[in-house]
Symmetry: D3
Subunit: 319 residues, 6 copies
Amino acid sequence: MEIKKIIEFQNGDYIEGFFLIKSVEVKTSSNNKNYMDFTLIDNTGEINAKLWECTKEDEEKYLQYQLIKVRGNVIEWQGRLQLKIVKIRHATKEDNLNIEDYVLCAPQNPQYMFDEVVKYIEKIENQDIKKIVESIIYESKDKLLFYPAAKINHHAVRSGLLYHILTMLKSAERLSEVYTHLNTDLLFAGVILHDIAKVDEMEANKLGIVSDYSSEGQLLGHIIQGIKKIDRVATKIGADEEISMLLQHMVLSHHYEPEFGSPKRPMIPEAELLHYLDIIDARMFDMQKAIEGINSGDFSDKIWILHNRKVYNSNLKKG
Amino acid sequence: MEIKKIIEFQNGDYIEGFFLIKSVEVKTSSNNKNYMDFTLIDNTGEINAKLWECTKEDEEKYLQYQLIKVRGNVIEWQGRLQLKIVKIRHATKEDNLNIEDYVLCAPQNPQYMFDEVVKYIEKIENQDIKKIVESIIYESKDKLLFYPAAKINHHAVRSGLLYHILTMLKSAERLSEVYTHLNTDLLFAGVILHDIAKVDEMEANKLGIVSDYSSEGQLLGHIIQGIKKIDRVATKIGADEEISMLLQHMVLSHHYEPEFGSPKRPMIPEAELLHYLDIIDARMFDMQKAIEGINSGDFSDKIWILHNRKVYNSNLKKG
Amino acid sequence: MEIKKIIEFQNGDYIEGFFLIKSVEVKTSSNNKNYMDFTLIDNTGEINAKLWECTKEDEEKYLQYQLIKVRGNVIEWQGRLQLKIVKIRHATKEDNLNIEDYVLCAPQNPQYMFDEVVKYIEKIENQDIKKIVESIIYESKDKLLFYPAAKINHHAVRSGLLYHILTMLKSAERLSEVYTHLNTDLLFAGVILHDIAKVDEMEANKLGIVSDYSSEGQLLGHIIQGIKKIDRVATKIGADEEISMLLQHMVLSHHYEPEFGSPKRPMIPEAELLHYLDIIDARMFDMQKAIEGINSGDFSDKIWILHNRKVYNSNLKKG
Amino acid sequence: MEIKKIIEFQNGDYIEGFFLIKSVEVKTSSNNKNYMDFTLIDNTGEINAKLWECTKEDEEKYLQYQLIKVRGNVIEWQGRLQLKIVKIRHATKEDNLNIEDYVLCAPQNPQYMFDEVVKYIEKIENQDIKKIVESIIYESKDKLLFYPAAKINHHAVRSGLLYHILTMLKSAERLSEVYTHLNTDLLFAGVILHDIAKVDEMEANKLGIVSDYSSEGQLLGHIIQGIKKIDRVATKIGADEEISMLLQHMVLSHHYEPEFGSPKRPMIPEAELLHYLDIIDARMFDMQKAIEGINSGDFSDKIWILHNRKVYNSNLKKG
Amino acid sequence: MEIKKIIEFQNGDYIEGFFLIKSVEVKTSSNNKNYMDFTLIDNTGEINAKLWECTKEDEEKYLQYQLIKVRGNVIEWQGRLQLKIVKIRHATKEDNLNIEDYVLCAPQNPQYMFDEVVKYIEKIENQDIKKIVESIIYESKDKLLFYPAAKINHHAVRSGLLYHILTMLKSAERLSEVYTHLNTDLLFAGVILHDIAKVDEMEANKLGIVSDYSSEGQLLGHIIQGIKKIDRVATKIGADEEISMLLQHMVLSHHYEPEFGSPKRPMIPEAELLHYLDIIDARMFDMQKAIEGINSGDFSDKIWILHNRKVYNSNLKKG
Amino acid sequence: MEIKKIIEFQNGDYIEGFFLIKSVEVKTSSNNKNYMDFTLIDNTGEINAKLWECTKEDEEKYLQYQLIKVRGNVIEWQGRLQLKIVKIRHATKEDNLNIEDYVLCAPQNPQYMFDEVVKYIEKIENQDIKKIVESIIYESKDKLLFYPAAKINHHAVRSGLLYHILTMLKSAERLSEVYTHLNTDLLFAGVILHDIAKVDEMEANKLGIVSDYSSEGQLLGHIIQGIKKIDRVATKIGADEEISMLLQHMVLSHHYEPEFGSPKRPMIPEAELLHYLDIIDARMFDMQKAIEGINSGDFSDKIWILHNRKVYNSNLKKG
């Protein structure tokens, strides 16, 4: 029997494959028996799956975010494919799986991206700025390798935060060729630090899926947490006070509007640009994702994170 | 010749007195000669004063915020009293003046108020909270004795910040008798710390008059500065992390609305009440000030800091 | 068999008890037979209950807001307890029940609270104010004893309106010790009258549950209705015009913001304080209620009436 | 010497005429002497006038809103005409003046407009509505004959309130031919009553110029005052309660938006239409006034009461 | 057997009738068989209907917006009438049906309304304006005869756009008798053109039901589309530039507020009035519709398109 | 005598130089004689200048925006330098002046910038897009060479519009290397066309100073005017309809928010990015300008076009 990816399923198939349990619920059918209602995903899509007449052990054994191996029949139910599970077990080390095949991941390798970010840090000339950035990024490295940039919004993919930082660094470098009066030390540092405290604000598992916000995350938020991080490191290394203050200002003002969490608006051009690099990267990501899901000449549904806009996929060539 | 207070001046008087220069400008009269145009104040009022045909030395000698001794004629000019200066000199130590007689001050003695605040700190049972508050308040004591609470708004009087804190503590204590589930340790600490970083945000002279905002004050603001203060002290004394976080949350949320500087709204009842104690104290101060300036049965002008409201001074008895 | 409160139910119990029908619906099961689907409450909680294979008479007999006596089996259904009703009858006088045991009530006895409010009225020195307040409060007494303060928001409990008034009076008295220039006659009267016309705006049953808003309540609202009440009584007793006007102004402005129903903002300090006493009492009530439902160290869900905030239940001791 | 209107003045004229003192101020010239600086108006325009070297008696004799007779020289001063007063005296009964010649008035005779409004009242079939309207309008008749509709905004002309009502009645009648389901009794009554309490809210002199707002006007506003008026009359005549309530609702909701003073939005079509008739009449008046002041093809300045819009006077024919 | 309208159905009837399929879904019953779940409408109401045990052919044959003939039993299901379909077929030409009997239509005949609109065009004196309006209206005539004015809001009935235009023209004519300075050519043209591009913005079927918005409708909107229409025609006929510009301005500004799609607010009185005529017509339509559905003395539910207001149906006579 | 630039003036100098009259007013001195009050500028700064005892001919001869040659004394008046004009005449061809020396200009040569823009057009592959852009840019070339981008806001310098376009093109090219899915044809075209109709909206003289807005500019605005431009050209050359629609959408949506003139928000990523390129270029320009005017470590005044923010000039090196 062939191992299949979800995208390859067809009505009538009898398939075998590995999937991640995105969610699972125990329900009761009209004949009063329990069954398990799964949403299974791999990196090609998602499908509803039923394990009829499950046992109490099944209910306790197969839980959210686990990798499982499954055999079953693909049927069509009210116009949608569904998987009727025949066999189920946990994936094991021997199955030799790569997480990238089962969850949405940033398009580049985490360690590679981390190394690229470090190259930008190498370009920072001001030693105080460089030390602050280095200290913080290495302290956060473990989490940075898999953390998403958000719970449900833009870059909510494994290693999404790192990908977001790296893309912004590329844009920052290019635009500082056009706006030559900018201090690139500040700008690069701002890009790297602006969301770095998200690793403290959110609790994410190794799949890059956020389960919750931390208490401090909810009571203070990553902007305040980031400022404190800079304050502590800058104090420790005895950095110039203005430099510490400017980096904190960049983090503080990067959401731009008070109602989005920035009590101060940018007062230096590097902070101003940081905000727009951030928002451009989020929007390009979200719009591109929306476009990938629709045909040329069509509109997407209204997308909440784009302020309820629809996105149009034109017939012109892309890129 | 009699020493007179501004409130006692009458048209035709020839007076002598001590005054503070609130502002001074060198102007040119229609006959092309320079004269000095003063606004003089004491704690009973303010008056316009002219030094006609002043010398270059005069222009360089008599500056804003200085105490001067003056003789002159009180005249009426277009319906208002004005002082024509005949003699002028700086006040000296020998004149033996009290600053309270020349600038608007809080109605109680600064050291007395400080001691009263300390009594509230004594009531704090939780030792971590107590230590944090003590450490910060003694560190700020020098400035606290004369700082106003604002540049132009509520409690913009000498020692106004201390007075604001003390009055709020009284209200906090009383309302915690009604709302008995509140943690008074948190509440008292929140009251004392909520605006404490205003001593870093603003630059005020010993007269309690704010000349400017500091760079950090403008780029970060007293809310963020206050959080960093708590973070540093709590780290130093090894305070419980939740306690530090809750105190920071109280400072962070006390302006309540994002557009007024609080990226997070209160999530504990003590923070919620802190906000309202703050606003009640500001409003009672501003409304009472407005009422003092008008007759019973009259309305004040529109008052900007009361969102452009007029205040009505009823004919009913007060208090 | 033991009489049990809902909070004591355990899976497998066969129980007997008295409950209030919070809501009831006739539904049809998958085998095409009607059954009754109840939500039953007492003052310890609420539970879903089913009366399977009910008769037409049952459907017409057991209605919302009735007190019933029930026997049945407690079972677990998809993780929640459910009551399978075996026997059901109406409660009778002979059962000797107290309404306090079946609906959420204010924490103090209505008549006691009313008497306490009357004591505050006794403190009012101005005779016109006193007469107006007395006339209105006695006219509303019957309803005041059981009316809630709202349909679903703060103080939506039996006698909640009276409790709200009494608590605010306590706070008003205490804060007028701090802000000594306030006219306590006006302040106490404002507290008592500010929401008094809610007894005309809403239609509530003796359980303190609001079924609907009256026509006048919807077309004019309790603020306007309250003003008319004062206008009529003041005219009848020939009260001083300024006093009537000030009381009306306090009622008119107590929601503070036009978008919350106050076309005029407070222009006297007593009206200003009235607004904040009102909002503090609502918030302390709602936050406390939220905290009671969660463990220390946890956050509540987002609470709509707190503008979608979560509330945090700290690990510090309360009160 | 010829009696001239302001619009006829030319540089170099020596004129005689009657004018109203719109405002007057005593100023001091560069040679330190007092002079009186007048703004004089008649119904053709306004002009600045100077009485040089005035006496103390002059200063006390010629006051705002008085009618005066004046002789003087018309000169040009920095591009504008100015009147240098040579002779001045008060107008007397013998001068036989009509107020319409000296202040901006509604384009129709007040008594005629009042009679026209009465004709609309005659058309009201419901006797309760008719009695309420009649009672209130006759009670307000004296003031209605000369009151403007506002202090500075739309219809701020003598008898402007009456003109506003009459024009709206005409529109109301016509639109009820198109929207035939409307109750014209309610609609006509709503039009007549919607602003009627402006005669209590504002204090205006017989010239139709508002000097101030009354205390009750400021603390409650004409909407609340109007509701109380209806409430009192309806109670007195024992009107149907629904009718009284609907008329009050119409007055309450006619500003439509809470932030403009209506805590309730219209819930009946007659109230909805009332709002739009009101706003259309204000806008047509203000736009027409703006257009009259500019040439074809030009834009007006930004007009505050039109939300800072400019108005364009097209080259097309009007009417 | 009698042909019956939906409004005449009673529990237990065996009926025959013609209906329009408003929507249809294939569902699966608890015994795992497909059935068709219809919403059927005629111009008297709507009813749920089931075709149990349908065939694959049925599923493909009976589709949304088709007219069908049906026999079946009227039963009561959970308090509502439901139709159990016994026989079903498509309506045919021979059935001789009128669309007006099956969908909500404007209350007047489309061709009649079009002719009435043309009469207003005849009244336009300015030849450029007349030609532009004529050219555009005849170009849109086909669609105009059946297009609604909106997808779900006001005038979402067959020929609703034409009805909206005609009613506004009547009001425009009447109000220009009151406001005699208006240019009726501009006003009539503005009324006719303001929404004319809705026929390009939306895609509606002959039933007057909007299925979707066009791509250009979504990317530009009917306001911009209408301006381009005028621009093209005006250029073609060589119309006066100011006239073209004014007509475009009227279309551009008729939504009044930027957030509703008008980047410029009205700057001529005709545009100002156009906006209010538009909004009055929408509101009278929506409120009347709401009132028709409720008893005297009752309130409607909250109505979204009326900004969530309830509407009150008074006991007074209508019209 | 030496020809001096304004920046070189010192108190006591007797200078000669060429200047542009930025504004001029005839005033009357206290001795009742006319004098001319100039603001003179060159590209180094601006100075107030007086021509005392001017003749009628002078008043009519020296007008705004003229280039003049002047001799005079530099004096200090109330702390500021002022020029007392001794000799004045118009500049002549023989003086051989360059406009760049007298008004603020974009930092690059207009023709050079135009040629650079054309190079970007050469990169557009889609022939329809290319033709539309070419047609419009050549049609506007004359004005484009000197038009500013705004009356008082960002890029309000000679040739500012062209400079704004060119800078954005550079950024667009660079960011499309990072966001590789973008269609650069659309993006470049959008950048070039987004503000192109400002040459129709505003009336500017050859100095690049806007005197006023055109009638069409005020009634429709440059966004609508730009759409019509594209519509006309696209129709003429028979361009693909989707392409025309997308270009119009980009122009329509580039202000992003309805309240800033865009009734539709961007629905394609190229339009989204266009908006941010636009705003980044404006902000970098305005912030850099603000920074140039202040010392390191200082804050600017509040800058209206930066939403009343102050800008901080850090001590770090720039660029």
